[in-house]
Symmetry: C2
Subunit: 332 residues, 2 copies
């Protein structure tokens, strides 16, 4: 079922069918009617490949993320997809999680899209540069800028400072940090801001972070180590909520009361954080994805745009894991 059959059936050329099918086409009303009639009758749908090849564009955008587990990435992707769909773009996803040679996959993806969003520490700067070098409109998410690429991040700096201020106000002085700052630039920023916020207040920051993977079991294990110290830290600042949830479990296991014996805070505000009473930092994930899609659309539409950088606002969410707040507790 091709445009040729339709043309033949109607008794016109394929050019006319093509024109009748697209909005801007200059076709006589009667001709268009006849074409559409046959199109309907034959259930003809133009081949996307043919169209894309002729138009020289895919009408599709890609997004690369490390993994989808955890609500974090799901939300980003949803925001991305929503905007992309609005502007008529399909969305191709690629999870690099633990795969060998993510670079190859990303380059592969780049051949199927008009623009692409790359999240966090999914691929090396080299690969990113390689993608960008092809002229592919690219936006980086929650990751350090590479070259002159558009980049949108969330404000780790401000929220880390706020978090520290809050904990210090509660009287905590001995801090530990759980999670690997080298895992992503985002987390590096959180860690750095956390340290400098402490220093600014004349509090001695921990010598080093307790590196662990970003999941519940790893957080639990790391927290167990941290709490075994003497004197043990009074507050555990965790790289994300899953680590913090693990820490919560460890505290419980060790019979330490939260927040009386130890405060625990996380990052991301996943749904479980609410039910665990976890103080955390809410990030506008959906907006992160949506921004990427919008910027990409702009770049596809018109090249030669100035580089864009944006840091999205975050919000400190106070719950019970960082200390008692008689009158501000959120009802789950």
């Amino acid at each position: 079922m091709t445009i040729y059959e339709v043309a033949q059936r109607v008794g016109v050329s394929i050019a006319t069918v093509s024109r009748a099918l697209r909005s801007g086409g200059q076709v006589a009303g009667e001709t268009r009617r006849r074409v559409l009639e046959v199109v309907e009758e034959l259930q003809f749908r133009p081949s996307r490949l043919g169209q894309s090849l002729a138009e020289g564009r895919h009408a599709a955008n890609g997004i690369v993320f490390p993994d989808l587990s955890g609500p974090y990435y799901a939300e980003v992707i949803l925001g991305y997809e929503e905007v992309a769909a609005e502007v008529g773009s399909s969305v191709l996803i690629l999870a690099t999680h633990g795969r060998t040679d993510p670079g190859r996959k990303v380059l592969d993806l780049a051949r199927r899209v008009d623009g692409m969003a790359i999240m966090g520490r999914t691929v090396s700067d080299g690969v990113v540069a390689q993608v960008a070098a092809t002229g592919m409109p690219t936006v980086l998410l929650a990751r350090l800028p590479v070259g002159e690429l558009d980049t949108v991040t969330t404000d780790s700096e401000a929220s880390a400072r706020e978090l520290v201020a809050h904990l210090v106000a509660h009287g905590y002085r001995r801090f530990a940090y759980l999670g690997d700052p080298d895992e992503s630039s985002d987390v590096t920023a959180r860690y750095d801001a956390f340290r400098s916020a402490l220093v600014d207040r004349g509090i001695r920051p921990p010598r080093a972070p307790l590196r662990c993977a970003f999941d519940v079991p790893a957080g639990q294990e790391a927290a167990r180590r941290a709490l075994a110290g003497s004197p043990p830290p009074q507050a555990l600042v965790c790289a994300n909520d899953e680590v913090a949830l693990g820490a919560l479990a460890a505290a419980k296991q060790l019979g330490r009361s939260v927040p009386d014996d130890v405060a625990i805070v996380g990052w991301d505000d996943v749904m479980a954080a609410r039910y665990a009473g976890l103080t955390t930092v809410r990030q506008p994930m959906r907006e992160l994805g949506a921004t990427a899609a919008r910027w990409l659309q702009d770049r596809v539409a018109s090249s030669r745009l100035p580089v864009r950088r944006e840091v999205l606002r975050t919000q400190l969410v106070i719950r019970t894991s960082c200390g008692q707040h008689p009158n501000e507790m959120e009802v789950p």
Copy 2:
């Protein structure tokens, strides 16, 4: 940068370049070497569009889901993507959530893929049939079969019965059901199984479900209504965890103790369920997605396969919201 430039530069025909680039091609070793050299030098990457058009396949699969919020769909998609990537297929996603004319979008997606997975109540049977009618390999997920299409679901029947048995063993007799069974066939199955399990035990099922949207606020509101009844129900069986989490909030708000005054159970086992102590039903989401991708791959590879149906096992996860279990409590 096309295959022509490479061919010219090497001094061979485009056919030879093409052959040198693909694994099966019969090319002299020396020729291939020279081709690859130039390919590397020019950073040539064949156009996916050109390839697909010539090969007659997209090397891409699509997946359609109602929304991505909640870990539920994210997990399905991750399972799907993982398998698809393994077999060399890209993944296109489409969220229909609250959009006008999802049918059009789905049909659109169908033009860009070799196979597609359709989840739950995203589009009408008519649209599904229309997609299938084009010969597109299609598998349905968590949804009633349509025609002769492959379908994979999770076992609502068994888990609903198990759930009821457990609640009855705890002594609960007055039940309410929260959620709209008409929202998806999956939920219809849960509701039907729930009812018949009660009837089988000589317990009178609720006259009707308390219909509400599948999110926390809606669940909270519905639970408030339910608990206002007199006598109030002793157990609230919720269509999914988000509704159940809302119900938990409502109970707290009304000063009802869970599980002493009222038991609450959900479905899906989202991460928050664990921290809320919610008894629920765990479903193999990842496996759901992975199965779809595998089946699709099989169908793309060889047509004329028999229809496949599979019901994946679910697992009842007992926590505290359904009653006291002195020695079986999970440590969060």
